[in-house]
Point group: C2
Chain length 605, copies 2
């Protein structure tokens, strides 16, 4: 398979294997590099610019008319291409330059610049022949070759050793154990991010330190409840509910394992370690541990510590002598996914104060640097995921994902350029922002029915005022209220953390947006409706699946796994439901800013 | 169940639970106290004397006519009873005084006099109720109560914790893990000695530090080969042979577990640790590890190190979060059973030099003290187990187990007083001893056909001279040769070790006979035919199942488990097949001593 060496802006490189003849844009996006391609890869928008070299030369193979149309001569001569038009047939160097404004978390680390300590070692072994003068066991001979007499060896490895002892073979060492002896030197790992909605599995070559492939699927538990609370209810109310939920996720994981290994021509026995991250509830369900207490005050999980178990303890079909690791969580609503996010962004190592916002089904936030870390969680998410919004849907094909309202007209785009089916979080935030700006709603969020410019878009639906984006997609007064509640919660959460840390907004140097919503949201709109403080507007970076990236780090490096534990010890968790400060900020944050023309100029100028 | 407190000669006590209405002799013998009862418990021989008290009073309940016949008045008033006639109906103190000449290994240690460090801790737990100000996970609360934040907790325990957290419960801590939380405080262990012929399982209450019950069975692998070599051949030659052998022993062990737990009204989940000892081949077969290389020069095992595995790694049906431990071995032919024997006899701790002889199917020997330990093994066993002897059988019912030839007449006993079926090891040794003494054979082992006194007992069988013990049980010239080979091997082994240690026979202060044969053999005969040096005649002590006793020690105490590893590091193993000294001693030892009347007087006088 061709190998792509991807250079990000800070000149560091990461290697990815790509299937022959695959599409470069496809590969980059699947590997979670966030390349913009608003036309969906049809060569129309011209945004997916990357620079491609083969060895030292610009790679101009099969340059298409679409590329000639979008690229300047000097760009072409430097090897700039539209990723959507490049077919990957050989090893290439790909440079992600400042073509796109979005940066992905994968550009924040490479395999060189985080502290690396290998988790798995594979060693070629030739045992010394025994004699009557040297009768020590083959196990001791093996340990001698490896150079560590304290390694544990389990029965299955001894069984194999008895078969292989007379030939050259490979020993796989993991932690303090010789977990395998075999003819091949293959050793793989799996990093898994279990989201409430989506599960992503990264297959990693532990020796080449390379993400070989990945596979993502919809969390099959979704059919029993869209969010964390409804799954907990299902586990509590339905007989065998907990067991059913565990079974569902495990079956899907084992199916993903089969697909990934078959596709990459390896055996499931070649996978020795799996690192799981996810929110606290998803991890409870994965282990079959009843998460009931997470759902009710005082919101206490059964476990938050990291867990290392044997694969068959869980029923995960990787090498049975390997290990399954669950990264540690912080609290009932700040899970291992957030810990992994901190880990991958490395905010705990930087002297600069950063704010990490993971706006998914829940809104989890972390503020801090190498001196302090504060985390909290608000039930802000659902509205931003389209839940409880009249025409709300998640960011599936056909979802209105961006809206612009200007000069009496409405512009919008949809996911996959499909006919509009509903509106997703980023679309609603855009819509509310422009409705404020155009005076369709006022600072209190109330519809201004006297607005003449947009009169034709306003109509009553079920006795409620509504603003129509399309013929059938509209935003009601109640929807605006939902967004107000959600944005107030996040804003108040941020303010509470800032106060707790005894800093000001000016001290924050980076705002990292993680999670699906964070990837699609328009920062201008997010700031405009007051989700993120205005002062932080220019400091916003979208970091994509930072949880998955953190899981990868913990999988590849022992030091990173250890750092995850250190992060948890350092984090100061604020329970907002118990915070008077939060309640005050929450009330204050309900009102929008005045974004009418004059107001905006005053603020932005 | 009534509890027996058994006091051995050194005044130390061990507690045993006995089933109500069980027979005292039975209980003592089953718990491996070696009480002599040559009549088989019928009240005829009067040898099974023990002193019994209930509280401070002599226990005279149901004194039988048989006891009145065998016991003196002063004995009766002190509470002396025939163990075979005492029904155990209540808690009793039983004193094993110098009634019997044989001492058992269980009298060499008690739960007080070996270094004890508990292997399992059970702790009652009441978790503190959480609040919004104290949201730490239930797992952390549990660790707080236990007082160790470094303990690992596995998924199954977390699942149970979720169910038990609101009530009082018990936590079971083993090694660095909380292996269980549950409503009961029961924690049991199993010590297993896997012999080539017999398997013994001791069920131990880990909290009360008490052997609760035991169960022994014939090693089911026996049908595929009586000795180690034939089993190795079976594993090699028969398709799936290794798997079949492993399956056999595991199935039997799981059956034993079921029987023991049902009988003692506990659950298999209440058993957390199993310690296995056995010869090196039996341990390979238990783990399904091919032992082929043990059978051929240079006799190298796959493993000798101790192994700690999860029960389901093996398929052993104890608590799946518990552990299976295999004690370490010394070499291909000096197994963990010998290590356990050393451990229980504690010869490695004593300044006095001791000789341990385990004469089973193989002859394993250890010489040493707290300064040095030397071990070797000879293929001496088979003859002493009745193998390759014309009328030889093992020590089953009906086996001639002792012989006396005097004044032209032959006296013999059989196991269980049954009609004679064949002759076992101790019988053959006795017979050869008296044949020498009476001049039926000469120093070279050749039949003296001119002996008039015993002429009537001599006849040819298949063209060989033979001596008839009964009408159908006889000893041939070839049998004598087999015994000569075996005794020469053991004698030469002992001499080689003595030379290696640079000591003399006079330096040896104890000779411990372990194993079945060691228990039955008449020391006078053993010395007489030259198995054991004459100078050591009065230093011989039979120690019964010292391997099982060592397994019990390792099960109960972490320190003992560690000591077993230290023992192995200390042992200097001599491969006799490679030793010129051994070969010389072997040739020299083939000749018998002159035991004719004059000769004996000269030697004994």
């Amino acid at each position: 398979m061709p190998v792509l060496r991807i250079y990000t802006e800070n000149k560091s490189a990461i290697e990815i294997e790509a299937e022959k003849s695959s599409n470069l844009l496809d590969v980059l996006q699947r590997s979670s590099f966030d390349i913009e391609a608003s036309c969906g890869g049809r060569g129309v928008c011209g945004k997916c610019k990357v620079r491609v070299k083969k060895g030292q030369k610009p790679y101009l193979e099969n340059l298409t008319p679409e590329e000639r149309r979008h690229l300047r001569e000097d760009e072409i001569s430097r090897g700039v291409r539209l990723a959507c038009k490049v077919e990957v047939c050989e090893d290439l160097d790909v440079f992600l330059e400042k073509f796109s404004e979005k940066a992905n978390v994968l550009s924040h680390f490479t395999l060189n610049d985080f502290e690396y300590e290998e988790n798995i070692i594979v060693k070629k072994v030739v045992l010394q022949k025994p004699s009557l003068d040297d009768q020590k066991s083959f196990e001791l001979r093996l340990k001698e070759v490896i150079g560590n007499s304290n390694l544990k060896v389990l029965p299955r490895t001894l069984q194999k050793l008895a078969r292989l002892k007379d030939q050259d073979f490979y020993a796989v060492i993991y932690s303090d154990e010789i977990v395998d002896v075999k003819n091949s030197s293959l050793a793989f790992g799996l990093a898994v991010d279990i989201g409430t909605t989506t599960v992503v599995c990264y297959l990693v070559d532990m020796i080449k330190k390379r993400v070989v492939d990945f596979y993502s699927f919809v969390n099959p538990q979704k059919k029993f409840g869209a969010d964390v609370i409804s799954r907990i209810d299902f586990a509590r109310e339905k007989e065998e509910g907990l067991f059913i939920l565990q079974k569902e996720i495990l079956n899907s994981l084992n199916r993903a394992l089969k697909i990934l290994t078959q596709k990459n021509l390896i055996s499931q026995d070649d996978i020795y370690v799996t690192v799981f991250v996810g929110n606290t509830t998803m991890l409870h369900l994965l282990l079959g541990v009843d998460p009931q207490t997470i759902a009710v005050s005082p919101f206490v999980p059964i476990f938050t510590e990291n867990i290392i178990a044997k694969p068959n303890e869980l029923g995960l079909e990787i090498n049975s002598e390997g290990a399954v690791k669950i990264l540690n969580s912080i609290s009932a609503y700040v899970g291992a996914d957030i810990v992994a996010g901190i880990l991958s962004i490395r905010m705990h190592k930087s002297p600069k104060v950063s704010l990490l916002l993971d706006l998914g089904t829940n809104g989890e936030m972390v503020l801090g640097n190498n001196q302090f870390l504060i985390a909290c969680s608000t039930a802000a998410g659902p509205a931003f995921e389209g839940v409880n919004i009249s025409c709300g849907i998640s960011a599936v094909e056909g979802a209105v994902d961006s809206v612009k309202i200007e000069e009496g007209r409405i512009h919008f785009t949809t996911v996959g350029q499909k006919p509009p089916l509903g509106i997703c979080g980023s679309g609603i935030v855009d819509a509310v922002f422009y409705m404020l700006k155009e005076g369709i709603i006022d600072e209190t969020g109330r519809f201004c029915i006297q607005n003449d410019t947009y009169k034709s878009y306003m109509k009553e639906v079920n006795n409620q005022q509504a603003f129509f984006i399309t013929d059938s997609i509209y935003i009601t007064q109640k929807d605006i209220r939902e967004i107000q509640l959600a944005k107030a919660a996040i804003s108040a959460g941020i303010k509470t953390m800032i106060k707790h840390a005894k800093i000001t907004e000016d001290d924050i140097e980076n705002v990292y947006l993680a999670g699906g919503f964070g990837n699609y949201i328009n920062p201008k709109s997010a700031v405009g409706i007051g989700i993120i403080p205005r002062k932080l507007k220019d400091k916003i970076v979208s970091v994509g699946n930072s949880a998955g990236a953190g899981a990868l780090l913990a999988l590849l490096s022992k030091k990173m796994e250890f750092e995850a534990q250190e992060i948890v010890k350092k984090v100061d968790y604020i329970e907002l439901s118990n915070s008077q400060e939060f309640n005050q900020f929450f009330v204050e944050s309900m009102i929008f800013e005045n974004l009418s023309q004059e107001g905006e100029q005053k603020q932005d100028g």
